[in-house]
């Protein structure tokens, strides 16, 4: 090869090298998934909670024909508001944004939605007195080589005495569970994927208002309310969905976003029946009882957070991060404590039980300063019947099976179907909403 020829070849290679990136970029490296998919089928979403709303919003934004069937009379699922009880906005359901490194953190930033960091102080009801710290470290439920036994059993194994019973109950309650049913191993393993951040944020308004304004408002025209789905026949190419009102819908794909309690209770009849492996996976995902009781007082005699009560393991000053004058204490009750209070049978009995406990902690000040209460019992709420999905002892890696699609027709979303560590959260539910839209459109791309 002579010098001239070599220079010519080198020039061609160099030009080719410079052009190659732009060729590759323009030909196969799209900036978003499924850009080339133009789906003309009809999609039905069952449930207008965070997952269903986001899936509907996303499909609608992509020009897909989509309809949402909601069993209750309102959207939001386990998000809601309590108008008029306090002089500041109240969440009846989910109220904390857990970390900002997630899709809803982006939406909050983009829409300039005001949120405040919730860094309120902790107090513990321990050995019949209020203290600001505990003698023993309770961070034993995180780390390596944890056994697949319950929080309750592990606490005993690790030498936490009976005086820690309700402290541990609060730790399990944070996960929507009882200490006797939450797995140390699986809870820890699933949380290893948690990447959204450890800080908790509260909305100046409510979580519901944020989801309502930024997501639900874009799809309310395609939601049919008071339409509980009773049956899904997916034996043929076209799926036939029936509701309690006698309505039927012929669609091509269905995204099911109802709570895991409803799937476990077979509130929807599938034909053919769902694979046994899948229903078994549903049964292994826990979802315990949960309620929020708002107690209004004339004065703020209580601490910001009181952990470890035997009736309620977590009392929280609801006014933190809010603009208003009312003194509101939230009893955040999960698991066995929520079951016990639900068994009392009435809101007034629940309120009395909580006031009695607070009277012991604050020497009669609760009853003396009590104005009113509002009980939001998620355990008895129709179409919900629980708090949020938790990791049971012996459950195994079943969320992937529970969330897997069936026959390229049925897709499963919702917080309990989150396989990337963000279950139990609103942003986790949203993630499953867009994940299943991607999975659905991929079946069309095939």
């Amino acid at each position: 090869m002579n010098r001239r020829l070599f220079l010519k070849n080198t020039s061609l290679i160099s030009i080719g090298g410079l052009l190659l990136p732009s060729i590759l970029t323009s030909s196969c490296r799209k900036t978003q998934l499924l850009e080339d998919v133009n789906y003309n089928g009809k999609v039905l979403i069952i449930g207008a909670g965070a997952a269903g709303l986001y899936a509907a919003y996303l499909l609608k934004s992509k020009g897909v024909d989509v309809l949402v069937l909601e069993a209750s009379g309102s959207h939001g699922g386990r998000l809601g508001t309590i108008p008029g009880f306090a002089d500041f906005p109240l969440d009846s359901g989910a109220q904390w944004l857990h970390g900002r490194n997630n899709i809803l953190g982006d939406l909050i930033q983009q829409t300039n939605t005001p949120v405040t960091l919730d860094d309120s102080d902790l107090s513990y009801w321990f050995n019949n007195q209020l203290v600001t710290s505990l003698p023993q470290n309770t961070a034993i439920f995180e780390g390596e080589d944890l056994p697949d036994i319950s929080f309750k059993d592990y606490a005993i194994q690790q030498g936490l005495g009976a005086e820690y019973q309700y402290i541990v109950e609060n730790l399990a309650g944070d996960q929507g569970a009882s200490a006797a049913t939450l797995s140390v191993y699986w809870n820890n393993k699933e949380e290893e994927n948690w990447v959204s951040g450890d800080d908790d944020f509260k909305f100046k308004e409510t979580y519901f208002d944020f989801i309502d304004k930024q997501i639900a408002s874009k799809v309310t025209d395609i939601i049919h309310y008071n339409t509980p789905v009773t049956a899904i026949d997916y034996a043929q190419d076209t799926i036939l969905v029936s509701d309690l009102n006698g309505g039927t819908y012929q669609v091509d794909k269905v995204i099911i976003t109802i709570p895991i309690t409803q799937l476990k209770a077979t509130k929807i009849q599938f034909s053919p029946a769902l694979p046994a492996e899948k229903t078994d996976a549903f049964s292994k995902i826990g979802m315990g009882a949960g309620m929020k009781v708002f107690l209004k007082f004339t004065t703020k005699f209580y601490d910001e957070n009181i952990i470890g009560g035997s009736v309620c393991a977590a009392y929280i000053d609801e006014s933190v991060g809010k603009t208003g004058n009312d003194n509101l204490l939230l009893a955040f009750i999960m698991g066995v404590q929520a079951e016990n209070l639900t068994a009392l049978g009435s809101d007034s009995a629940i309120t009395t039980a909580l006031l009695q406990e607070l009277d012991v902690m604050y020497t009669g000040q609760a009853t003396a300063n009590f104005i009113a209460s509002h009980v939001e019992n998620w355990t008895t709420k129709p179409y919900i019947e629980g708090a949020y999905g938790y990791s049971t002892v012996g459950m195994g890696d079943v969320r992937k099976i529970a969330a897997s699609q069936v026959n390229d027709k049925l897709f499963f979303a919702g917080e309990a179907m989150n396989i990337n560590g963000h279950h139990q959260t609103v942003h986790g539910a949203v993630e499953t909403g867009y994940r299943e839209v991607i999975n659905l459109l991929k079946t069309v791309q095939k």
Binding site: R29, Q32, L33, Y57, Q110, N193, D198, N420, G421, Y434
Partner: protein, 221 residues
């Protein structure tokens, strides 16, 4: 100033015992299927963001190469390369910037092809990375800990170049290089790119890097 003096002394010391020293700059093209998928998912899932996040594709690299003295046709040496890739999307109230830093120290073999002007090199390197996200010019942090992903893997690279002498011992060498890291582990990259872990794919990726640039060479012996 002391660092500059130290660098100069080291440069001269190394130079005295080397066959050749090169410093180069290049355009860098990056391809990672997993990282693409994470950013594509980010864009797909956020229709509220008008401006889409560009993929991590185009960047710049600098490198320093040191060839050991040898009378054989094949020489060997060491190289240190650094690449920087940036992706920025400016939306209302949310300017999202991804920054990827790649550093690869490695060992290389150098052949002269035919006459002295053309050369080929094959190298194996340790490839390390740092992937960072900034929102509105602030590093994204989780409880005061920056959200970032570090990566590690092995890189094999082939380079072809042409030595254009402009002085008896100095040359400007245009080159093209293709590198591939078949297993590049970066466990938290999805957390930076799509704010999830385990939703868009696995925690390792294959990484392809193409470089086109020039190097300035000094023959020492």
């Amino acid at each position: 100033m002391k660092y500059f003096c130290l660098f100069t002394v080291c440069f001269i010391q190394f130079g005295l015992f080397s066959q050749q020293i090169r410093v180069g700059a290049s355009y860098s093209y990056i391809y990672s299927g997993q990282w693409d998928k994470a950013i594509q998912t980010y864009n797909f899932s956020r229709p509220f963001l008008a401006e889409q996040q560009p993929l991590l594709i185009h960047g710049a690299s600098i490198s320093g190469t040191y060839l050991f003295p040898s009378s054989r046709k094949m020489q060997h040496g060491i190289r240190l390369s650094y690449s920087y890739v940036r992706s920025s999307a400016e939306n209302t109230n949310l300017t999202n910037i991804l920054q990827l830093h790649l550093l690869s120290p490695g060992y290389l073999m150098h052949w002269k092809i035919g006459e002295k002007s053309l050369y080929a090199e094959a190298s194996v390197s340790l490839l390390t990375s740092g992937l960072f996200r900034q929102v509105n010019d602030e590093p994204v942090s989780d409880d005061d800990t920056p959200v970032r992903a570090f990566g590690i893997g092995g890189l094999i690279e082939a380079e072809f170049g042409y030595r254009k002498l402009f002085h008896a011992r100095n040359s400007i060498d245009p080159f093209i290089a293709v590198g591939y890291a078949p297993y590049f582990f970066s466990g938290k990259s999805e957390a930076v790119l799509n704010q999830t872990s385990g939703l868009t794919g696995r925690n390792w990726t294959g990484l392809l890097q193409l470089k086109v640039g020039v190097q300035f060479s000094i023959d020492m012996l």
